[in-house]
């Protein structure tokens, strides 16, 4: 069990190196997210019953490891720092569910979970984030990853206008064929919709993320 907790924390910190914008919403807010990076594809739908945490369903297809995960994820906003011109956040997350092998992976269905940490600092011009995640499953093994992002907005827009960010993400996945990945991306943000388009220059693979906040 201890092994799972540790690996989960490491995985939560490592699996899925995507820096989700505001993984906890306003009270009553619902968010739908799809993610596709060099290692996995995921969907995540969460509800925020309290401004300090969100809960929802998360499904992941770890394409490189040929396994899938379906479970519930809880994300806790541990701390938010406010200023007139900035916001900084520290989030912790945990997921629990079932994982099983897909394609050529004969692994059966077993309990699995992840633990993660994410921190960000953002102004209307600059964005910096870090996340780490660890994942462990009875039948599919363990993995971990971490990533960091730096972004700049070439122009500053007001509420309702199209916001554009130029970002670069550096990922570290010790188990991956290329342990260190670099992904330049562009983020578009307008009202309830956020979309990111990038390309992993180390793996020659696309990076996509869409979020819609209801």
């Amino acid at each position: 069990m201890k092994q799972y907790i540790f690996a989960g924390a490491a995985l939560a910190l490592a699996s899925g190196g995507i820096a989700d914008a505001r993984p906890v919403s306003y009270e009553g807010g619902r968010t739908f997210i799809t993610e596709h990076d060099r290692d996995m594809s995921a969907i995540w739908a969460h509800y925020t019953p309290h401004h300090r945490y969100s809960i929802g369903y998360r499904g992941e297809w770890h394409r490189e490891d040929d396994h899938a995960f379906h479970g519930a994820q809880l994300t806790w906003l541990a701390k938010r720092w406010f200023g007139a011109d900035y916001q900084a956040n520290l989030y912790l997350s945990g997921a629990a569910g079932l994982a099983y092998g897909v394609d050529d992976n004969p692994a059966g269905t077993g309990a699995a979970g992840s633990l993660g940490l994410m921190a960000d600092w953002e102004t209307r011009r600059w964005f910096v984030s870090y996340m780490a995640r660890g994942f462990a499953g009875d039948t599919v093994g363990e993995k971990a990853m971490q990533s960091a992002r730096l972004g700049v907005a070439p122009y500053v827009a007001n509420y309702g206008a199209l916001h554009t960010w130029l970002m670069v993400q550096v990922e570290h996945s010790p188990q991956a064929e290329n342990p260190v990945g670099v992904t330049p991306l562009v983020r578009f943000f307008q009202g309830p919709l956020m979309a990111e388009f990038g390309w992993s220059v180390t793996d020659d693979k696309p990076f996509l993320q869409f979020q819609y906040r209801f």
Binding site: A21, R22, S25, F82, Q87, Y159
Partner: protein, 123 residues
């Protein structure tokens, strides 16, 4: 110009601004981004304007969170956020009231922090 006319002009210059309704004074300070058409309509119908300075509002998700949280309230006719001015502005329906503590609580439940509240009466 006679002294009497000069005195009258001075008196008018001083008294007209003083007689202007508080809302007009508040609106002079507001940008277009702080008053939406829906808010203007609500003001024309007798609503009252509230301006809240907010900490931490740096993106559209922040603005969306506060706008939706306030517009779900029956007392609120319309709301918007101006990221440039770092304010949430909203219009209370005619006769409706919302205490400062309730406003601060709604901002907190949106995920942000209130940093000052100003009000203006309806015309």
């Amino acid at each position: 110009m006679s002294i009497r006319n000069l005195a009258l002009a001075v008196a008018l210059a001083v008294s007209v601004p003083l007689m202007a309704p508080p809302l007009a004074m508040a609106q002079e300070e507001l940008s277009e981004a702080q008053i939406t058409p829906a808010m203007q309509t609500a003001l024309d119908e007798g609503g009252s304007l509230v301006i809240v300075d907010v900490l931490g509002a740096v993106c559209d998700f922040c603005a969306l969170a506060m706008t939706r949280t306030f517009e779900r309230r029956a007392e609120v006719a319309a709301a918007t956020v101006d990221l440039d001015a770092k304010t949430l502005t909203f219009v209370l329906r005619e006769g409706a009231q919302m205490e400062d503590a309730a406003i601060s609580d709604l901002i907190r439940r949106s995920g942000y922090q209130e940093n000052g509240i100003r009000r203006a009466e309806a015309r």
